[in-house]
Symmetry: C3
Subunit: 446 residues, 3 copies
């Protein structure tokens, strides 16, 4: 039964409010990243978090939205007429597997279609989240011009392609045709948004290399502590706030009573993640490291993003706890074992916990939600509730993310490096990017 | 008439959005408290405000929600089937007076019940508000491990019990049976949330004692000014923002047109409180003390929280003005007369203004709202509109809060003090809790 | 067809949520302005942004709302009965041209009317936005007592009068009677809110004169850089977030599917403005000046505020780009050519971009929205879509704003200067307003 006019209005309002909340997460990222970086780069870090928004919005408006959702003709919960849509697909064995969309460029064909416009807004702020993640891992050494070029590439090309595969009628959503559960299911973006951001961040951090002085020749590692931990905590709370819009808004409908369980699961997983990381680091490093608690809490949020609609509250706590531990172990391991310099822990928070979140759905989805998801009959169930194929689809989605995003991002960054240079000169890094790259200190003296 | 399906959806969305806003108040508390404390303890103060959220959420999920709302079987505005409920009650003279709920532990029995889950979310962020209040009054000297134990106790036991008595079918809501108006009425938590937090803060501040150097042997009092007043002002604005969700969300329904008046009263009382405190302190101390204006504004918000749905706009202004003056006088009196060290003024803001708010309802409720409240016929009226019994019920609620919360909190803190110690060693306090207790400065130097 | 009961509830909730978001913009203004000013005045700047809210709310409650909307008897989208209303009007040639409203003082006559109360809330936060704008341009030298008097005047008298003319049945909304399109159309306040604030800011900055040391006798201009650019960036993001409530809330209805396009246009214009200003300043000053990017982004938001409901997405991008360039050129020109000292760029951001926004509607309104606006048949069209009269009405509205607001504000400030003095003594300015005017530093040392 299609929603009534009033339900459509309610759903439209819900999607818009969700989008507003997600947009506000940009400030959360800005404060977390700036708090975890040094004062001499504080303006540069804030600047990347500010500017990724306009750059990404323009790139997504011109091209990205078309690639990602150009193959979708309507959003039933939001009403409105079906718009012309076109998905470029491969035909394999009689089945179509979508690769990218190709309509609605610059919103011209849907300039007055409320449902398409609301979805643009909602999709744009999700893109923005993915695009801002690498600015943390690549902070304190990234050339601002190279960052700007990245912003267009990420928003117009890289993010939309993988997003199309999961949410835009693309091939990962069609894996159910091959008997793999409901295809790759990612309710609000553990893979689409967070892994894409985290894997891109990994590629970028590798191309840039560590900050000057981070890894010494004698094998010791310098802490290079961030300059304002209250900022980082404030940013974490802002992210936890905005995440309610991220997850509960992803029903695209307030008529769907599942929004309550989604919000509760989001809260519980963040709590489990924050507490687990805090206790883990307190037990192992003998201090209640609040930076790690922040990252654990965020890891819990990242992980619950995929399964939030499909699992029970107790499972959400467990998913959060595991994510918190994985994040803590990941942050430490990336630095100490792999000697990758990620000033804010973005790769672990978004990449590792994002992968875990997608897999956890394949384990704990309890069949209480998702009837007909991706056109497959019955609800979504994980391995523990009888559907091993769903776990398979989740694995494929995770692997596809790494296999696609990493090399493309790596190649893109290498290309930019050749063309205009990715990294600021060493003397700029020593003095700080603020004065020499941005032209102003973050905290000028009167 | 039960709400239509669409109304239920709207109400569910309203409750969730209200909960999101209240959750965001955590950042407001964090910034107010951190701004009002010293730089050497800034990370510790932020940390308590961050960690109370996950700790409280887990404690409330496991036990607290069951104690508080285990006796409530349904939320009519949110729809859904009635869930099994159980309230442990005393029978006195044929009447049942509830003491605590005992169902829905860990949300197991309501894992897929949207109304119960939405109420969990809404109730959890209210618990979080109450639980974070003492972290201000007890800042700059509280051991982090003792704080953590407190977090579980407050969220799982102390807050839920008093909350049950007023909102969860408990005895204070049944005082109407004894002819005392509609029983104790607290629309959004002047007593349930704010007095509970403020009285617990008082007990904690007494058990901890004042900060080193606050009260000198010669009788002089040191200011120990906070390190970042812009943070405090920012936090105040965030609290004023989130408070709209606190009060207007407490209808549990957007179909109730009273939400408009509630929001307006919330705004007007905050304005009255802020302005009154500013002018009072300007007149008496000859400087427009902005810290006091912040506390006055917050005092106005605390006070209007109980009566916001029951009074006219002009009464809201008056309630706010009185709250602002009480807060200012209270902050000064607690420090100078009672020599209690509350770095942020939480006891006055939440305890004193909370009590005033509950009483003000017993004076100014004008009979325009609350028909059938707590099962009593007719609307809610205060003394000035003909119902002296209502004022009696308000007084009993306030006295019960002090009589129950204070000794229990005091005893609990004393117990923790014996078991693991409540206070950091003097050398930690001198150096700052950040470096020695938390393991990192709030503002490390590059 | 009047909205159903449920639609009314949805619309009421929408207006309230919009108002909450706009109220939160106060923190955005506070951080932008404080970030752009010096540490020695940081508390004073925060204080003005905090205190304008209670002062403005009380002034608007007592008098302002009555002057602005006293002539409006009902808000159809919000339901409820029509309230008695009275507009004082001039009769010219058989037509009534409203000058000010005269009912609903102190909300007495509408104390329990949800529609009128919701509109009060929404209108009050818009007033607050206008009233806070001058605190930026006049920062670092304005006496706090003079500021307080201003707060009452702005909220009770100046803002409501022009607002009445455009939104409250006043004469600018009746220009359609003279064949000028639909009369002056300002969807969410480019002229009503932003120009009024910006023009008042200009008058105030002129009366106060520049800060000590800004313009040297030898013709050189000192930068006097703000002390915390991360604050300014954070404030910009908060403003961009709250602006969604500002614009999309101004439908006064979530049943109006145009809310989606409005939100998208708001996002796109901000992106266009931010990016254009960044690239302009990068190209001309050879550094990616983030302060200018912030102002450009805000300029884009200011400009789209009037036309957001009437234009297509591509037009919104263009409007934003032009606004970003105008803001950048305006900030520089006001300082270098006109030697007006506006520490935060408020005059350019709100005054110049506000004017451009109103005019842009007269150019780009495409006829897809606004049927029956201001009682004129047919949709709203700009010059490029066939209605030159609409552009005329837009010009008149802009001119009327300057012609009315500037002299009244200037005269008021001059009067205050005579009565109690507008400016702090030079020694206070040198030392900083915080210690001498406010009685406390913003960042006291432990």
């Amino acid at each position: 039964m299609p929603p009534s006019q009033t339900e459509q209005s309610l759903n439209l309002a819900w999607v818009l409010l969700g989008a507003f909340l997600v947009m506000f997460m940009q400030l959360g990222f800005a404060l977390v990243e700036t708090g975890f970086t040094r004062a001499k780069n504080a303006l540069n870090t804030m600047a990347m978090n500010l500017i990724i928004y306009p750059v990404g919005v323009i790139g997504f408006w011109l091209v990205g939205y078309a690639l990602m959702f150009g193959g979708v003709s309507e959003w039933p919960s939001l009403g409105g007429p079906a718009a012309p849509a076109h998905e470029v697909a491969l035909r394999v064995g009689g089945h179509a597997f979508g690769i990218f969309g190709a309509s609605k460029f610059a919103l011209v064909s849907v300039a007055h279609d409320p449902a398409a416009l609301a979805m643009f807004l909602f999709a744009a702020v999700f893109m923005d989240t993915a695009a801002t993640i690498p600015t943390g891992a690549m902070a304190e050494r990234w050339k601002f011009s190279a960052f700007l070029v990245y912003g267009f590439f990420m928003s117009a090309i890289l993010y939309p392609l993988y997003g199309n595969w999961v949410w835009g009628a693309g091939w990962l959503s069609s894996l159910g045709l091959l008997g793999l559960g409901h295809g790759h299911v990612d309710f609000a973006g553990s893979t689409v948004v967070h892994m894409t951001g985290g894997v891109t961040a990994l590629a970028g951090a590798l191309v840039l290399g560590p900050r000057v002085g981070k890894f010494r020749r004698d094998g010791t590692i310098l802490g290079l502590p961030g300059h304002n931990l209250p900022f980082a905590v404030a940013g974490t709370l802002i992210l936890a706030f905005g995440w309610f819009g991220f997850n509960a808004g992803s029903t695209l409908s307030a008529s769907d009573p599942r929004i309550a369980g989604i919000a509760v699961n989001t809260m519980l997983a963040s709590a489990g993640g924050g507490l687990a990381a805090l206790l883990y680091i307190w037990g192992t490093a003998h201090k209640p490291d609040i930076a790690m608690a922040c990252n654990g809490l965020l890891g819990g949020l990242v992980a619950i993003t995929a399964p939030c609609a499909f699992v029970a509250p107790a499972a959400a706590v467990l998913i959060g706890v595991v994510a918190g531990l994985l994040t803590a172990v990941g942050v430490i391991g990336l630095e100490r074992r792999l000697r990758i310099d990620d000033p804010v822990g973005a790769i672990a928070v978004h990449g590792i916990s994002g992968a875990w979140g997608a897999l956890s759905l394949g384990l704990f989805a309890d069949g209480a939600y998702g009837v007909g998801w991706n056109g497959v009959a019955g609800p979504v169930r994980g391995l523990l509730f009888g559907d091993a194929g769903q776990l398979g689809a989740q694995c494929i989605g995770v692997l596809a993310n790494v296999a696609f995003v990493f090399p493309v991002a790596w190649g893109f960054f290498k290309l930019v490096d050749r063309a205009i240079g990715m990294r600021v000169p060493a003397e700029v890094e020593w003095s700080g990017l603020d004065s020499l790259e941005m032209g102003s200190d973050a905290y000028p003296r009167g």
